[in-house]
Amino acid sequence: MSNDVYLNRFALALGEGECSVRTSWEAGRTRTDVETFESSGFSRHRMAAEGTTSYDLAYRAVQGLDEIPRDATTLVYATALPLNANMGDPGDFEQSRDIKDLSDFPASRLQAEFDLDRASVVGLTQQACTAMLGAIRLARALLLAEPRQESILCVTADRFPAGALYEQAYSLVSDGASACVVSRFPAGYRILACHAITIGALAHASEDEMAGSHFSFSHRIITETLELAGLSIRELDWIVPQNTTPRVWQILARALGFPLDRVVRETVADVGHVISSDNLVNLAALEASGRVRPGERLLLFMASFGMNWQGLVLEKV
């Protein structure tokens, strides 16, 4: 059995509504003022329409795949917000006091709706915005560990609850979902390395502490992920990052010795931080630009609450 695992294909689904920074500021959805956000590179973000659930976004993301993976042997369903991993109405629970009303899992629904009859499900709910990279890491590990695994569908979907601020750690946030297929079939991107760090003692870090430690931890996860892939920074062609203010990359790229024009940053203005879908949003933009070539290596990485950091190195097939 080959040890090679591939991220074959992926799709996105963003919240239907597009809002400017000003609109959201005026609606009280952000704390940071319009000028500061705009000068930091954020212009617009996406919000799910009233009535659209995170599950709806997940459904649309899977539907957007070129081909529904009916033969999937596992479905990994990841949410950044634990509340998006239950479709039950908490109000029903208050009436019934039956925890069944807290156990209406979107993964099971998705498996049923797409007739993924062979797939068992796994829920990932405690990796925050790194959850999609965590799902891919888990999928790769399953494929390497269990011969019966053939194709794994990874999904991440989040929408913020009504009344939530659409701003986290100085980033403007969008509702959105993404889906990808990980398998042994050699197409798309070969997965060269996955890596994760959790520092639980920082789980209650303030936004200032998160922002303050961002650079050294980002440097660490990137360096360690590359080491796992047996690559130096010079052998890397693209960084496909989390959507934060592009200024972060002006600093981090210098510290890493990596060319800034090879950091995919162009989606920040239009969609901001799409929770755990940032990497695939940026990968889609890179593909759409026609700039990524076979044989090129890409590093995807995310940082989030928990505190969690995850990295992934891919090679375009």
Binding site: I199, A201, D208, G212, H219, R220, V248, Q250, I251, R254
Partner: protein, 370 residues
């Protein structure tokens, strides 16, 4: 005859005053900064116990360097020496305030010196970093304006211009003593006076700063308050004039920035709370990168963090400058000179900072061990 010490209520001025009074039993006139008689009385009442048992050696004066005649009440006939330590030492002081207090204040001190009939010498406590962005050998010689390649902050510039004010009076018996960066009271690491060095370490410890502007190989010239006070008092006793002295340890003792960070993180790791957070060492950044960070923070972050970053930004350019300290005049004037162990000083200072939670808790002097 008395030694007049300006800024005697300040950190270094106070150390020098206590050494003169307690160790040498010299009469002093302690001039403290105050804007009013009431303020002066409060400050003097607070300082007086430090001279218990030696009250007969101490007289008090007060004023504000920005005032037209700050030394109007000084009995010039009693003054045999002046040590001018009064200044604003904050790196992020504004140009205007630095000019009025540090530069024009020094001019007023020199005018006072000219009126003292029995003056033996007038000494300015300057800074090694009055050399600004000048790299290479920092001689114990005048800083000619044309030689300087600029300054990191208004404080440095004001100290260089203060030296100009002193040297502009060749008719007076002046001396200039340039102190290194004071990071602790003594080799035990106790800190009374917190400055940008400690502020930066606090940011590291709190996980608020994970980039460090600077060249890892550039050297810091660190000293203790005790060393500066002892050196200045010994220099005063040597009675030389028109002498410039770098009150720093030589280049063989200057400690590379990279080694400082190693020591800081090794020491912080002894703190269980810090260790649990697994905070990595900061990554190095060039000046442009750091400026981008500070600019990027302008609308984000808490006011406290922004203020702390501004503090680091106020000396960031200095961290790229390779200076080689000359201290031959110091060595010649200090019999039995021994350099302080810089690594041990950094380590003990960090231990104190951790143990005292950066000055929030009391830690007795000498309590840092290990």
């Amino acid at each position: 005859m008395r030694t007049l010490i300006t800024g005697a209520g300040g950190y270094l001025g106070g150390l020098i005053a206590r050494r003169l009074v307690h160790d040498l039993e010299q009469p002093v006139h302690l001039w403290i900064h105050a804007d009013s008689e009431e303020q002066a009385e409060v400050k003097i009442a607070r300082l007086r116990p430090e001279f218990a048992g030696r009250e007969e050696l101490v007289t008090w004066g007060w004023g504000a360097l920005e005032a037209d005649a700050p030394f109007g009440r000084v009995q010039v006939g009693d003054i045999g020496a002046i040590v001018h330590t009064a200044a604003i030492y904050r790196f992020n002081v504004t140009e205007d305030v630095a000019q009025r207090v540090n530069v024009e204040g020094t001019r007023k001190v020199m005018e006072l010196a000219a009126r003292c009939p029995g003056l033996d010498h007038v000494s300015l406590l300057s800074s090694f970093y009055a050399s600004g962005l000048r790299a290479g050998l920092i001689a114990e010689a005048p800083l000619e304006p044309g030689d300087c390649e600029g300054f990191t902050n208004p404080y440095e510039r004001s100290k260089a211009r203060s030296e100009d004010e002193v040297r502009a009076r060749p008719d007076l018996p002046w001396n200039i003593y340039r102190a290194g960066l004071v990071i602790a009271d003594d080799p035990g690491g106790h800190v009374t006076q917190f400055n940008a060095f400690h502020q930066t370490l606090r940011l590291f410890h709190g996980g608020h700063l994970s980039v460090m502007p600077g060249d890892p190989a550039s050297r810091l010239y660190l000293v203790t308050g005790a060393f500066v006070a002892r050196a200045v008092v010994d220099l005063l006793r040597s009675r030389s004039t028109h002498r410039i002295v770098n009150v720093v340890h030589g280049p063989e003792h200057g400690i590379p920035l990279d080694a400082v960070l190693d020591l800081v993180y090794e020491t912080f790791l002894q703190d269980p709370d810090f260790r649990r957070r697994h905070l990595p060492r900061p990554i190095w950044t060039d000046l442009e990168g750091f400026d981008l960070l500070v600019e990027g923070l302008s609308g984000f972050g808490s006011p406290l963090v922004r203020k702390a970053f501004d503090s680091v930004a106020s000396f960031a350019r200095q961290m790229f400058v390779h200076k080689v300290a000359v201290n031959a005049n110091l060595l010649a004037a200090l019999p039995g000179y021994e350099a302080e162990d810089q690594a041990e000083l950094v380590r003990r200072t960090c231990l104190y900072l951790v143990k005292s939670r950066f000055g929030r808790d009391e830690v007795a002097p000498g309590a840092i061990s290990g």
